[in-house]
Amino acid sequence: MIDDQRDIIDEVTEAEYKYGFTSDIDTDVIPSGLSEDVVRLISAKKQEPEWMLEFRLKAYRRWLQMKPPTWAHLKIPEIDFQAISYYAAPRKQAANADGEIDPELKATFDKLGIPLDEQKLLSGGVAVDAVMDSTSVKTTFREHLAELGIIFCSMSEAIREHPDLVRRYLASVVPVGDNFYAALNSAVFSDGSFCYIPKGVRCPMELSTYFRINAANTGQFERTLIVADEGSYVSYLEGCTAPMRDENQLHAAVVEIVVEEQAEVKYSTVQNWYPGDKDGKGGIYNFVTKRAICKGQGSKMSWTQVETGSAITWKYPSCILQGDDSYCEFYSVAVTNHHQQADTGTKMIHLGRNTRSHIISKGISAGLSQNSYRGLVKVMPKATNARNYSQCDSLLLGDRCGAHTFPYLEVANDSAIVEHEATTSKIGEDQIFYCNQRGLSTETAVGLIINGYAKEVLNKLPMEFAVEAQKLLQISLEGSVG
């Protein structure tokens, strides 16, 4: 039995990372290293206004005084921030006047299954902002969305074309000095998506950003800002992949979301950065700050994430529940295999009255990986009738991996009800036996059980993603019988 398991695990380890190819694209890469001059150079390359440069420099000076966080349950090798190039952009970038894009770029995204050609999509499909290395390559369906007053474009364009909106909201949720990686991002972020949904508008299609790291020795630092004005609704998807390389690459993004009165934002991520090979060589360091603020009364925020990639994940999508009656939910499946490490979870800060939050986290660890849930539920003294329920389950596949739970409950209001529960176990022999008995192979049985285990979260994903996520789960874990 043990030998069988080893064989199956070996088989899986040999399964290739599907998106590990590199594209031969002429790329403009600045020399590695970080200094004020580099920050100025990035700002100049992007033809940014003076206030943006000031913003970056302020962030850079803050960053110099900060230290990388060490509290996570992660072993992070020392990162040489001077060895990274902070800007890489395809030289023949973006579309020309006729909307034609570099065929090589297009081919890359086609290969990833992200068509940049609007005709190829069914009507009412998904609008995509495709980001390669440091810049946005193309944003589809822009005109169609503009008719409704929705702004969906790259961050660089937004800074140039909608400076008032950007200035008003940028760093309003994640301040420049929030943490080490957020400060770094604020100083050197290259691109990302900007999205504004006007009052009362229900966005008719899913908005999506696809991030691709291609160039070597670079880091990706994108910045996303989503603003949902009063009574609006948007569903946003984020996907990402990177080539297989032996060295580690840094991805330090910031996502900020502002949800105004009665508005609703649904943010879904399928994170599939290159996780490194089976010996733990290479892979992306995914150090991301994501935060939403439910600003207005009755606003609603929903985070759904499927984390399967990255060598190291440090990520806590969180929400500040400021408006009365606001609600936030967090659904997460985090899968780690081989030498992957993940420390992920959420933070719910209850400020307003009658605010509610719901956390469902499912961790699956296999191989030699370490998978931690870390979450904070904080109820401030004025948050009357705050309600939280958290459930964090861990599933262990294999006897050499680790599953950890680090919840923090801080309650300063007597009318609050905060509940947390967590369980850790492996797949029960009785469960496998039951399936075997009904003619299912152990392999299929495990797949079935894992899928059932993660179902609650996968169900929350939009259709397009749910299928991809389910496949991903199977690729990552197939056969790792507990």
């Binding site: 006897d399 680790g402 599953a403 923090y408 409950l409 801080e410 492996k426």
Partner: protein
């Protein structure tokens, strides 16, 4: 880091300027361990600097700075009658007392030799009379945790209680340790207890902390307990100090194969309390049950930090901690379960429930699971909330006043923990104390004159 309030450096300085006094009022064995602890203090972070372990309970440095540091035993005019009147009715326990950290001999005998080879008495004296026995166990468990307060204790401590239960001895009568604090000026007091239960032995141990005068004492206690294979220990810690007192306790327990350890940490009263409890399940089939109750009001702060380590396969642990917080009190629970690699067939359960009675009280909970083996059944749950509205309605609809209904429910809530106390007279007594405490009445042993100090 604020250099001015570096407690570690202060403690090192204290040792060097008082080393001859400290060593002369202790024993050679205890003195031998100081150098290493002092070295450790150079490296460890100071306890008043925010750290993950003390996230919710920063060591009150200014209180500590104001304390007198006395390194010689004091005399006291408490009559033995008074002490015995404080004793629980029907408990009939063997008494062992400390006064400001030194063993306090009622009859000048520093080691009581009880029947069947049981030894109860001064740790420093035991280290002189039974050097091999004490050396085998002293300061073995405590250094496993990087906590500078433990290192400070090892560096400066002079005495405490030693309990030895030989093989196959089943102690019917409980042993009661009473730690008393007395002084006009605030004092920094340390003591160290070493409890050894040999194979197949059984004992009940009750530890009480009392302040005899209203000064702002700061006490730092370390207790090391070894439960050899198949030993059974019931340990009850009751804390009933006044609002100015600061009490930090560290209890390290090694439960070897087949041993069963039940602990009750009952914090009924105190200004600032932090209880560190670490139970290492180091032998197959060991079992630990840890219960805790905290009742806090005014500006009290009570924090329970537990660490249950499943080191080998086939061990079981249960934890239940409950808290009721009133007025401006703050409470914390930092519970950690660590299942080491290869500790298969582990069962570990942890539960922490808390009631907040006012909007100025607050509770922080940090229940954690760290699991490195796969054949485990582990779960934890934590809640912070109020009394169940439906149950309240049920009681009210039966004509019970709101106040009575609330009391009844809170009492029931606390009784979940109290009911597990193994010593019947003690269980009844604690129930009574909890009842009085919830009722807002004098919650301390009111029959005892040493405890009726004005607060």
């Amino acid at each position: 880091m604020n250099i001015n309030s570096n407690i570690n450096r202060e403690a090192i300085g204290l040792f060097h300027s008082n080393s001859s006094t400290i060593e002369s009022h202790s024993s050679r064995l205890l003195n031998q361990h100081r150098a290493q602890a002092l070295e450790l203090l150079e490296q460890l972070p100071s306890p008043d600097v925010k750290s993950e372990a003390y996230r919710y309970s920063l060591f009150p440095a200014e209180r500590w700075m104001r304390c007198q540091k006395v390194f010689a035993p004091i005399t006291c005019d408490i009559s033995t009658d008074d002490i015995f009147r404080c004793n629980l009715p029907n408990l009939h326990a063997h008494l062992a007392l400390t006064l400001n950290g030194f063993y306090y001999a009622v009859d000048a005998e520093r080691l009581q030799k009880l029947p069947q080879g049981v030894i109860v008495g001064s740790l420093a004296q035991a280290a002189i009379e039974y050097p091999d026995l004490v050396a085998k166990h002293y300061n073995i468990l405590a250094p496993n945790v990087s906590d500078s307060l433990v290192a400070i204790n090892t560096a400066l401590v002079q005495d405490g209680i030693f309990v030895y239960i030989p093989r196959n001895v089943v102690m019917e009568q409980p042993i009661q340790i009473i730690n008393m604090l007395q002084g006009v000026e605030p004092q920094f007091v340390q003591y160290r207890n070493l409890i050894v239960l040999e194979e197949n032995s059984q004992a009940h141990l009750l530890v009480c902390n009392h302040t005899l005068s209203p000064a702002a004492f700061v006490s730092n206690a370390v207790t090391e307990i070894v439960a050899a294979p198949n030993a059974v220990l019931n340990l009850v810690l009751t804390q009933n100090e006044h609002n100015q007192a600061t009490h930090i306790s560290h209890t390290h327990i090694d439960a070897q194969s087949g041993a069963r350890v039940n602990t009750h940490t009952l914090s009924l009263h105190g200004g600032f309390i932090r209880n560190n409890l670490r139970i290492a399940l180091s032998g197959e089939g060991a079992e630990a049950n840890a219960y805790g109750l905290l009742l806090a009001d005014r500006q009290q702060h009570i924090d329970n930090a537990t660490l249950i380590e499943h080191i080998v396969p086939g061990c079981t642990s249960h934890e239940l901690y409950k808290g009721i917080l009133d007025e401006d009190a703050t409470g914390a629970f930092c519970g950690s379960i660590v299942v080491h690699p290869n500790a298969q067939r582990t069962e570990a359960y942890q539960n922490c429930n808390n009631l907040l009675l006012t909007d100025t009280a607050s509770m922080n909970a940090k229940p954690q699971l760290e699991i490195y083996a796969d054949d485990v059944r582990c779960s934890h749950g934590a809640t912070v909330g109020q009394l169940d509205a439906e149950a309240m309605f049920y009681l009210r609809s039966r004509g019970i006043s709101e106040r009575q209904a609330k009391l009844l429910m809170m009492f029931g809530f606390a009784h979940d923990v109290v009911q597990h106390i193994g010593i019947a007279p003690l269980r009844e007594r604690i129930d009574e104390l909890v009842h009085k405490r919830l009722n807002g009445e004098l919650n301390r042993c009111h029959t005892c004159p040493i405890n009726t100090v004005q607060q």
